[in-house]
């Protein structure tokens, strides 16, 4: 049990713990990618990691900067075309867990990565949905990881890029979805899970040293706490060292190549 760790490290490790050896996991880039690989390098060595570029069963030694780094293909069991990835593997219902991040989330775990402001006259144009709309509907369940902040956790999304629990309650079932949708949101301060009835995100676990007030202050809606809230176990020494090692390897690997004048 360590006491010297950052909130981001706690977030990544808490996210990693959500995964198991039997998961077939569709990995989003950024925080999800770190969490999935920490899981693989600690308690879930046989987890299957899939990136939407087509790499299946990949075991990267450094974290990819993009979803299509060569490292992902070099260490994959096999690599398929992108149409096949989305048709046979994602839509085919073969993915147990999708791991997403996002720019904004609402209380029903809907995500926005498209625009801030009106779609036609955006204040901020974000990258867009990419794989998210169909990851959100076709994976068995969805984990989301993003830092808790008022800008990110908002009362109302300007745009629903990918559906979580929609308007809450049985909204997913009403739209014919048979998958579970978001079952856990892992932040740098706490873990949220949808209420079984209303599907509103509710704090179920608070990271060590975090005050409830700080969670309330950093959420854009009046956040609810579950009846029983536990404390997230602090990172173990192994978890932390695995995470720090892969981050160090990654940093080293992504530096170097010259500014368009010299090659890497």
């Amino acid at each position: 049990m360590m006491t010297d760790f950052t909130p981001t490290e706690m977030m990544t490790i808490a996210a990693a713990r959500a995964l198991s050896n039997d998961d077939v996991c569709f990995v989003g880039i950024g925080a999800p990618s770190a969490a999935c690989n920490v899981a693989r390098l600690t308690h879930a060595p046989d987890i299957t990691l899939i990136y939407e570029s087509g790499t299946v069963g990949t075991k990267p030694d450094v974290l990819p900067l993009s979803i299509g780094d060569g490292e992902l293909c070099d260490t994959a069991l096999f690599t398929v075309s992108v149409p096949e990835m989305f048709r046979y593997w994602l839509q085919g219902g073969r993915i147990t867990t999708g791991f997403l991040g996002g720019a904004q989330i609402d209380r029903f775990a809907n995500l926005n990565t498209t625009v801030v402001g009106p779609y036609d006259r955006p204040k901020v144009r974000l990258p867009g949905g990419g794989g998210a709309p169909e990851i959100a509907s076709n994976c068995g369940r969805i984990f989301i990881t993003m830092a808790l902040s008022k800008r990110g956790f908002v009362e109302k999304l300007p745009f629903v890029t990918s559906m979580g629990h929609g308007e809450g309650g049985d909204h997913r079932e009403r739209l014919g979805l048979k998958t579970k949708g978001p079952t856990r949101v892992i932040t740098d301060l706490c873990i949220l899970e949808p209420d079984t009835q209303t599907k509103e995100l509710t704090v179920v676990s608070i990271h060590p040293g975090v005050e409830r007030e700080r969670i309330v202050e950093n959420c854009g809606w009046p956040i609810k706490f579950a009846e029983t809230v536990i404390e997230t176990p602090a990172p173990t020494e192994t978890e932390l060292s695995v995470l720090r090692d892969i981050n160090a390897r990654t940093k080293k690997a992504h530096e170097g190549a010259g500014p368009g004048k010299e090659a890497a």
Binding site: Q91, G128, V160, A257, A263
Partner: protein, 286 residues
């Protein structure tokens, strides 16, 4: 049959003002050298198609070559925004950009439908998402057996598709390996196609009977441009320059530094300049 020709001639003959152009590559094998040649030749009013418009399309948009873009994820992977893309959408600089936005699944299926000569693609998609509200090219189709309703999008049929590949033989047969993205579909869906390659070899020698090969009669032009995917990469030839992707953020953030970079590295450069990226890397691993 594909003609093996210079990149300059291949672009001059096959890319026309106003064309719908797909330059594909899912992180891997992005045809940067060819895209730069398109900029140098001053092609204009292009309608760009690509799942993941990254730096290359940021460059094309920034120089004002594009009238519109169909895409599903427009960012600098792992780094952040595409500033030229944002400037065009948010401030109409240097010109307005009409966007048609989809999900990856829809775009991948739409290319697939184009390659299969179907007018549209169907998918289990867009459930509960807002894109169908702002994109009239997302409709639905009903299963004649079960009554289920599925999302439908038009097939993508570019006027010209441009890709980069590892190698071609002297007849113009092309081999791709590694992360192959939607390049095969994009080529087969297009009226014309240009493939730049790292190597031209006597025998293609696919490593497996089921390798990804495009036969010469399915390709219009092949151009020998070693290093032509930099700062993207060519599996087995050279790695991705993640450092350049990170650095692009500063270059593109400002209109002036962007314009200066384009002048120095595109307008005043030649296709042959890409060879240094192929040459300075570690030995082939393929």
């Amino acid at each position: 049959m594909a003609r093996i020709m210079s990149l300059t001639d291949a672009v001059a003959e096959n890319v026309r003002d106003g064309d719908t152009v797909a330059m594909e590559g899912f992180t891997h094998l992005i045809p940067y050298a060819a895209g730069h040649e398109v900029i140098r030749q001053g092609k204009k009013d292009l309608f760009l198609v690509r799942m993941t418009p990254d730096i290359l399309y940021d460059q094309l948009i920034g120089v004002g070559a594009a009238r519109g873009m169909k895409f599903s994820w427009g960012g600098n992977p792992g780094v952040g925004s595409l500033h030229r893309f944002r400037d065009a959408v948010e401030n109409q600089w240097p010109r307005p950009l009409a966007i048609e936005e989809h999900s990856h699944a829809a775009m991948a299926n739409a290319y697939e439908a184009g390659a299969a000569n179907l007018p549209f693609a169907m998918l289990r998609g867009y459930v509960g998402a807002d894109l169908p509200k702002v994109n009239s090219n997302i409709k639905s189709v009903t299963c004649p057996f079960t009554g289920e309703v599925l999302a439908a999008v038009p097939a993508i049929r570019p006027d010209v598709t441009i890709i980069h590949a590892q190698r071609a033989d002297r007849k113009g047969n092309v081999l791709l390996e590694g992360i192959v993205g939607v390049q095969k579909e994009a080529v087969l869906a297009a009226r014309r196609s240009i493939v730049t390659v790292e190597e031209i070899v006597d025998e293609l020698s696919p490593p497996s009977p089921n390798s990804v090969v495009l036969p010469t009669w399915a390709v219009t032009a092949v151009a020998y441009v070693p290093g032509g995917a930099f700062p993207s990469y060519a599996h087995g030839y050279y790695p991705r320059s993640n450092a350049f992707y990170i650095r692009w953020d500063e270059i593109a953030r400002d209109r002036q530094t962007f314009t200066a970079w384009i002048k120095e590295n595109v307008l005043d450069a030649r296709p042959e300049d890409f060879a240094r990226y192929a040459a300075t890397t570690s030995a082939k691993v393929a």
